[in-house]
């Protein structure tokens, strides 16, 4: 079927999402919870686009294309609200994201400045018991990518979301660290993590040395 992204005609398969269409058209749409190796999740809500006829911007990753759909990736309201969401994400972190992370890239491209909210941030909690993988729980933004990578890519089912609301986070096994879980040390979680909440021990130690 054909859809239009910012006026550009794109041919997509039935069932394709507005995000897929936008990317086919070569447009950048910010995402934080999306990873094309896994099923869309619809959690981060920064992939907002305007759809002609829709009352308000929608999350493009979970919006299925309809024949002739007009998708606008540069809609002012969609971008402003995506920026607000990214700003809220920054406000929960005790420190700005490291430059190499996906979060840093999204925040920069969206033009998010210093967050207007200066409230509670996540408490630092590190788990470096595993030989290769390290948790930095305070950097977790609950995008669920590590959990889904573990389930959908590796099939190890070693990770889970924990808690509820602002206090949501992620852990391995029975909160017993990677080594006591069904983790196979594949690194898919660290690979997909957009913030370094799960990272390779080597990189973690390098960063630690750098900050000393």
């Amino acid at each position: 079927m054909e859809v239009f992204v910012d006026g550009v005609r794109v041919e997509v398969e039935p069932g394709a999402t507005a995000l897929e269409a936008a990317r086919l058209a070569g447009k950048w749409v910010p995402t934080l919870c999306f990873d094309d190796r896994m099923a869309p999740f619809g959690a981060c809500r920064v992939c907002l686009v305007a759809i002609e006829g829709a009352a308000a911007p929608v999350a493009s990753c979970t919006t299925i294309c309809q024949e002739g759909m007009q998708i606008e990736t540069t809609d002012e309201r969609a971008q402003r609200i995506a920026r607000n969401v990214a700003e809220l994400v920054l406000s929960e972190l005790p420190e700005p994201p490291a430059g190499h992370t996906e979060l840093a890239e999204v925040v920069e491209r969206l033009g998010v400045g210093e967050p207007r909210w200066h409230g509670t941030v996540h408490e630092a909690k590190h788990d470096a018991r595993h030989p290769y993988l390290v948790f930095q729980h305070e950097l977790c933004i609950s995008c669920g990518r590590c959990v889904r990578a573990c389930d959908e890519i590796q099939g190890a089912f070693a990770l889970t979301a924990t808690g509820r609301g602002f206090h949501s986070n992620v852990t391995a096994g029975l909160d017993s660290g990677f080594q006591e879980s069904t983790c196979v040390s594949c690194g898919a979680c660290a690979d997909t993590c957009p913030t370094d909440a799960i990272t390779e021990r080597f990189l973690f130690e390098l960063a630690e040395q750098g900050s000393e």
Binding site: I81, V85, I141, T160, T171
Partner: protein
């Protein structure tokens, strides 16, 4: 109609004579048998846990991880890693996922002493004395909410709405709910007594909802109507969902009927979490047969042989009342195989929640029913297409289904005639303790709010006057007293930034401080956010911090936050919580302190 006090509740114990596991030995959904026969997943990459659970088929077990964890708490006061391992083994969920479940629900995370006291922090209880009872209870028991005494004897926890909003403030000591005047003192002296039941009445001579179910609608449908005719009748009746969203039930039934799937399910949303609402509670406890009849009708209409009622754990009596009604219905042949010799079979299972408001959202409810974390899933797919065990599922609210027997018996035309010139049918509303005559009342759509509040409920007690109403639950806007002539109906309330919602009406009297009300509402919103989507997870918490801080609230920043929540949230929780805050900004800007 009234139930004798606590006949089927023994504090902290099992119900005499009841056999909650009885249905496990009865007929089971085919999907289970098929799924359980599949055995282990062999290296299959699952797209998500629901599909994993579906394929793995719970390892031959019939218990969900959530049910097992809840049992550990009920029987042993808490969840251990051994409990989690056993729950994983039996349910088929991975251990990590079971750990995640055990950190999600209030019932599983609050520490429990041998005596577990809960204090309701719902909006109706708040409206009495603005949580003074919470502070007095904490002081009297020497514990803060969420704490357990060192000797393990006593614990105190917050619970959001026990459904005794007609007699606030309410408390739960073990399984005894005490409420109203003197309740706090009785809790403190360890002499809790069952609270009085509410009044329920109808403005109709022949009520649609305030009546015992007698299965006459089901008898008629099975004898005289085809499934298609029944679907058409419910569609023609324009029966709108009574849980809050107002989606036409007939359309849901049709979608589920048309969806491909070799087995289909009816799931009743009995997770009436709206603080200040006790409509579904009274229906489940006093007219469970009406609900079962409605479920069977839905099953007949869509081609489902199994239904589930998901009841919140805050309503211990509801679960027992339903289980007893199910047992009676099997005996009388109103449920079971080949009902009335029609060839139609329908079986009902009752499941219990574990403390989470967002589980009232249909995708979260289905996750919870399958024993997982009660988080929301993006739609599509809709439950009608892929619901319970990824099979077509109708999720209807309790009250919605209780309308079906009338429609099946009398038809769409008679149903529409009940509320002339307004939304067809009738609606139950419930009124909080502030009113002279609180209770559950069946009203016609279109009735002015003033008539409900002043004529039916007699205005407020203690010579107080209404300052504002919150209608339809925590996601409903706030109607100031000068707009009381607004009719109670979908479009008319929407025009005032309010909603019919689920029909709870909470009056705030002239003593109420609207800044504190904003704090109360956002505390609830932030605490109950499931944590899946970013705007709700972070935004409601930031909103709470904004109204809790000293000094004026930055209006532009607050409105920007509310817009972000409304537009970007995944479900109606984050999307709806701004509505009452917007009302407060519009009608009480000075008191709210926005500048």
């Amino acid at each position: 109609m009234s139930q004798s006090r606590d006949t089927h509740l023994v504090p902290g114990g099992r119900v005499p004579g009841s056999d909650p596991g009885a249905w496990l030995r009865g007929p089971r959904p085919r999907a289970w048998r098929r799924l359980f026969d599949v055995g282990k997943v062999e290296g299959t990459v699952s797209r998500n846990l629901i599909e994993l659970l579906t394929r793995k088929g719970a390892n031959g077990g019939t218990r969900t991880a959530l049910a097992m964890l809840r049992e550990a708490v009920d029987e042993r006061g808490g969840v251990t890693d051994d409990d989690r391992r056993v729950a994983a083994q039996v349910s088929g969920l991975p251990e990590a996922a079971v750990y995640g479940v055990s950190t999600f629900y209030d019932d599983l995370t609050q520490p429990r002493g041998r005596r577990h006291v809960r204090v309701c922090t719902g909006t109706a209880c708040w409206a009495v004395d603005f949580d003074a009872q919470v502070r007095e209870l904490e002081e009297g028991l020497g514990l803060r909410m969420g704490e357990r005494s060192e000797d393990g004897e006593l614990s105190l926890a917050e619970t959001v709405c026990l459904g005794f909003c007609h007699s606030s403030p309410s408390f739960r000591d073990g399984d005894v709910v005490d409420a109203g005047p003197g309740a706090l003192q009785r809790i403190l002296s360890g002499t809790a007594a069952a609270a009085p039941e509410p009044e329920w009445r109808s403005v109709l001579d022949d009520p649609v909802l305030i009546r015992p179910g007698d299965y006459t609608g089901l008898r008629r449908a099975l004898a005289e109507l085809t499934a298609e005719q029944l679907r058409e009748e419910v569609k023609a009746a324009n029966l709108r969902g009574r849980g809050g969203a107002g989606f036409p039930a007939g359309l849901k039934w049709e979608f589920a009927h048309k969806a491909a799937g070799d087995e289909k399910f009816i799931v009743v949303n009995g997770d009436e979490g709206d603080p200040g609402s006790y409509i579904d509670k009274q229906l489940m406890e006093w007219s469970p047969e009406l609900l079962l009849e409605g479920m069977a009708l839905a099953g007949y209409a869509v081609g489902a042989a199994h239904g589930f009622v998901y009841v919140r754990s805050e309503y211990p009596r509801s679960k027992h009342a339903l289980e007893h009604a199910v047992a009676r219905a099997y005996e009388s042949g109103d449920l079971g195989d080949d009902i009335y010799g029609s060839g139609f079979s329908f079986h009902v299972h009752v499941e219990e929640g574990a403390g989470s408001y967002v589980v009232g959202e249909e995708t979260a409810l289905l996750n919870s029913l399958q024993g997982m974390r009660g988080t929301v899933s993006a739609r599509p797919p809709f439950p009608a297409e892929k619901g319970y065990h990824a099979l077509p599922t109708v999720v209807n609210n309790v009250e919605t289904l209780c309308n079906a027997p009338f429609i099946a018996l009398h038809g769409a035309e008679a149903y529409a005639a009940l509320s002339p010139g307004a939304t067809p049918g009738t609606k139950l509303v419930c009124l909080n303790e502030r009113f002279q005559r609180p209770g559950v009342v069946e009203v016609r759509f279109g009735t002015p709010m003033r008539e409900i509040c002043e004529d039916l409920a007699g205005g407020l007690k203690d010579g107080r006057s209404i300052k504002a109403l919150q209608i339809g639950g925590p996601l409903g806007g706030i109607l100031p007293t000068w707009k009381l002539d607004t009719p109670f109906d979908f479009d008319e309330l929407a025009a005032e930034g309010c909603m019919v919602g689920h029909g709870g009406i909470v009056a705030f009297d002239d003593r109420t401080d609207m800044r504190r009300l904003a704090q109360h509402l956002l505390h609830f919103g932030a605490h109950e956010s499931c944590g899946k989507c970013f705007p709700c997870r972070i935004g409601l918490f930031r909103g709470l911090e904004m109204v809790e801080a000293e000094g004026p609230v930055d209006r532009a920043k607050l409105e920007e936050l509310l817009e972000t929540l409304e537009v970007a949230s995944l479900c109606a929780h984050g999307g709806g919580m701004p509505a009452p805050i917007r009302s407060l900004i519009a009608h009480f800007p000075d008191e709210l302190g926005v500048a």
